[in-house]
């Protein structure tokens, strides 16, 4: 079958339904948190490595693909930060902006030295952390072995068609740059496309680039107040109303999700290594044990009949 060069391979139903991490007993909400933080980490590393956004986007999508589906990687085996490093190393390798393993390892060491995940940028640690030669050798070996693991688990599908250029083409087709706020509109649309990369719903892995571009333009035009044609212009770009609506909601929900994440994790660090993850799971086990004790006690003392069937710890 001939595939369109404008299209990306999309996630199958089975891949969306479950993940290897969940098979290994990882709670879905924690998995979501780690994936989101990992994608952010990749974006940050890409900026520090001075990579163009297109390469960073590719890296984030490699990272996202790696965790999807029952055959994929599991957070119980593969540390999210190394997978993120391998993704960016891979994406840069095939681009025109190759980066050395040393640069990648240094950048990740710096990012790891930041004590909180949702940090205030004004409180970044000073100085560059020192990676000793032996640490470098171990980390490099691990980076390369995870690199191979990532490649094989996603079937070497590390190429993505991105919506950025399509978005500009569509804006031009819509005559958007003739508006006084056309520039602003384009910038907002790009911002939405970048936001979408981090989506916990993996918008980029479930929708084709043309649809993402259209939804970003639609949303940006509403925000900026540019009036686009009063007809279903999105159909010209082969996007139906239902898909557009879904994507618009998807783009918007990332902000809400991020705010919740920030609130939940506070000054703590989202677990990025297997050890940190185990620690977090231990903490959760203890606190949920306490919680169930606390909740159980009054129920027993009052009537002895459990009325609500709602499981403890669901929030």
């Amino acid at each position: 079958m001939e595939f369109s060069p404008l299209a990306n391979p999309l996630a199958t139903v089975a891949q969306l339904e479950t993940s290897n991490s969940q098979f290994d007993g990882l709670p879905a909400d924690l998995e979501k948190s780690i994936r989101f933080a990992g994608a952010r980490l990749t974006q940050a590393a890409g900026i520090l490595l001075r990579l163009p956004q297109e390469v960073i986007a590719q890296a984030i999508l490699i990272f996202m693909r790696y965790w999807l589906g029952p055959e994929a990687g599991s957070l119980h085996h593969d540390p999210a930060d190394v997978v993120s490093a391998a993704s960016i190393y891979l994406a840069a390798k095939t681009s025109a902006y190759q980066k050395s393993a040393r640069s990648v390892i240094n950048v990740y060491a710096f990012l790891d030295s930041i004590p909180t995940t949702y940090t205030d940028l004004s409180q970044l640690p000073e100085g560059v952390p020192y990676v000793s030669e032996s640490t470098y050798t171990t980390r490099k070996r691990r980076l390369f072995s995870v690199e191979v693991e990532v490649l094989e688990s996603i079937g070497f599908q590390i190429t993505f068609t991105l919506p950025y250029t399509l978005c500009f083409t569509y804006l031009q087709a819509l005559d958007a740059f003739t508006y006084p706020r056309g520039q602003h509109l384009a910038r907002r649309a790009m911002a939405h496309l970048n936001t979408g990369l981090l989506s916990p719903q993996f918008l980029y892995l479930t929708h084709q680039p043309h649809a993402l571009a259209v939804a970003a333009i639609y949303l940006a035009a509403r925000e900026v107040g540019v009036k686009l044609p009063g007809v279903e212009w999105w159909e010209v770009f082969d996007v139906d109303r239902e898909e557009l609506g879904f994507l618009v909601v998807g783009f918007l929900s990332v902000g809400t999700f991020a705010a919740e994440e920030k609130k939940y994790w506070g000054t703590r660090k989202v677990p990025m290594t297997v050890a940190e993850l185990d620690e977090e799971l231990d903490v959760r086990r203890v606190s949920s044990g306490n919680a169930s004790l606390e909740v159980d006690a009054p129920q027993n003392s009052s009537t002895g009949v459990s009325q609500s069937g709602s499981p403890v710890g669901e929030c």
Binding site: P5, L6, L10, E71, T94, G155, T159, G230, R241
Partner: protein, 453 residues
């Protein structure tokens, strides 16, 4: 075979006529359909006064428009899916095809579907892997083939892994579509070289592929006849992207790109700026290779035209074919790293005109060739220039692909037909054990054979 081409044109014309007729009919039908649809839409607009039940996303959408029947056909783009690498055991190897620069290529059959494919094993060098991780050429080839989906570029079906089932990091194989011939091998064994109309068809397909790559900011960096495949239906496909890499368009922000290596392109196809050690180069290097390939087609014996022994000799051969670049024709020439070391004659002899080197080529053909073999990369033709060149429009017209002759495929282990004598022609020699003997018949071979026994 002079008769064949005449037949070919007739058949082509007939096909072309039929196609035109069909096109006309189609247009007519489409127009009628459009009119009908417009009438229906107008009627629907008048009749339909009920408000739409659908939730409106935009307040600007007027009722009558949202109530229109949602029959519009939207294009759906198929992109497939992804999954873990399958194992190479899903394929049965039939025979080896060649040992390429990049790895071993073999013909194989997919067990499940019975489809014949080419399996290309990616070399992996342990020392490189120690230093830089996964092999860059292998990754680039996969990436480029995925990006460059084009009818004239060999299609990558999937990547499979070999080695132990449970251990990752074994060898990998690219599963490519199987194409019967590679041009170099075919041209070596063809009884007669391609005729002008066939060359046009082949070369145009090749340039279309290269144009597609260049538009997508990809340099192939190893164009040569042995990397060009030809199917039995005259369909040309470009292969071997191990050297290819992306070059960002010049408008990209000032993010420094990783340096380009000058050790690219097989020597006989290497552009002068590469031989002179230029630190930066452009897609023009591919065009130079195209020029070399074009001249190879034109050569009577289909042999390489610039066959240098080493870099210096290659430059010498280039300059004796196209002349030493003057300061005016290529201003930056003398500033290139290796140019200083060159000892160039003060008053160089004027090279023979390309027309004399390739007497069979028309004036337009010579013009095209000299444009592709222009020493100054800035003045060299682009792929688009070539495609719109008058050479493709003048007679003979490109031969339709369906009318291409077929050849036994070496890759598919098909027997090449052995040379058999033709009926004697009037006034010519006769057949003997030593081939054609002009004039007198010589029976000494027969008797000498008998004596030995």
């Amino acid at each position: 075979m002079p008769g064949a081409s005449r037949w070919a044109n007739d058949e082509a014309d007939a096909a072309e006529d039929a196609r035109r007729k069909k096109e006309k009919e189609d247009k007519k039908r489409a127009k009628q359909l459009k009119q009908e649809r417009e009438a229906a839409a107008a009627a629907a607009q008048e009749e339909d006064t009920r408000p739409s039940k659908r939730r409106k996303l935009s307040p600007t959408v007027r009722d009558d428009e949202s109530a229109k029947p949602a029959e519009r056909q939207l294009l759906r783009f198929e992109g497939g899916s992804w999954g873990r690498c399958r194992h190479v055991d899903n394929y049965n190897v039939i025979n080896h095809i060649e040992q390429g620069t990049f790895g071993v290529v073999s013909r194989a059959i997919e067990v499940e579907t019975g489809e014949v494919v080419a399996l290309k094993m990616a070399k992996h060098d342990e020392r490189v892997r120690e230093a830089d991780g996964y092999s860059v050429p292998a990754l680039r080839e996969v990436e480029m083939l995925r990006k460059a989906r084009h009818p004239n570029i060999v299609a990558l079906k999937e990547v499979v892994r070999g080695g132990d089932y449970s251990v990752s990091g074994g060898p990998i194989y690219l599963v490519l579509e199987f194409v019967e011939h590679d041009l170099r091998d075919l041209m070596n064994h063809m009884p007669e070289p391609f005729v002008a109309s066939e060359i046009k068809t082949l070369f145009r397909q090749l340039v279309t592929a290269v144009d597609f790559l260049h538009t997508n900011h990809i340099m192939h960096r190893d164009l040569k006849t042995s990397n060009i495949l030809l199917s039995n239906r005259g369909h040309l496909k470009l292969a071997d992207f191990g050297m290819a890499r992306t070059v960002p368009p010049p408008s990209t922000p000032n993010i420094p790109t990783s340096p380009l290596t000058t050790v690219v392109v097989t020597l006989w196809y290497r552009a002068p700026e590469l031989l002179l050690g230029a630190k930066t180069y452009t897609t023009a290097i591919d065009i130079w290779s195209l020029g070399c390939i074009f001249s190879e087609f034109q050569d009577k014996t289909n042999s390489y035209i610039l066959k240098g022994k080493n870099e210096v000799d290659q430059l010498y051969k280039i300059f004796s074919l196209v002349g030493i670049p003057t300061e005016k024709a290529w201003p930056s020439f003398s500033r290139l790293p290796n140019a200083k070391a060159l000892k160039l004659p003060r008053n160089p002899a004027k090279p023979p005109s390309l027309k004399r080197v390739f007497p069979s080529l028309t004036d337009a053909g010579v013009d095209l060739l000299s444009w592709m073999l222009e020493s100054n990369p800035d003045r060299r033709a682009t792929a688009k220039d070539i495609l719109s060149h008058v050479y493709f429009e003048e007679s003979p017209k490109p031969k339709p692909m369906e009318l291409f002759p077929t050849f036994p495929s070496k890759a598919a282990k098909e027997k090449r037909k052995e040379w058999t004598p033709e009926a004697p022609k009037r006034g010519e020699g006769r057949w003997s054990n030593n081939g054609w003997q002009p004039g007198e018949v010589d029976f000494t071979a027969l008797s000498s054979g008998r004596e030995k026994r």
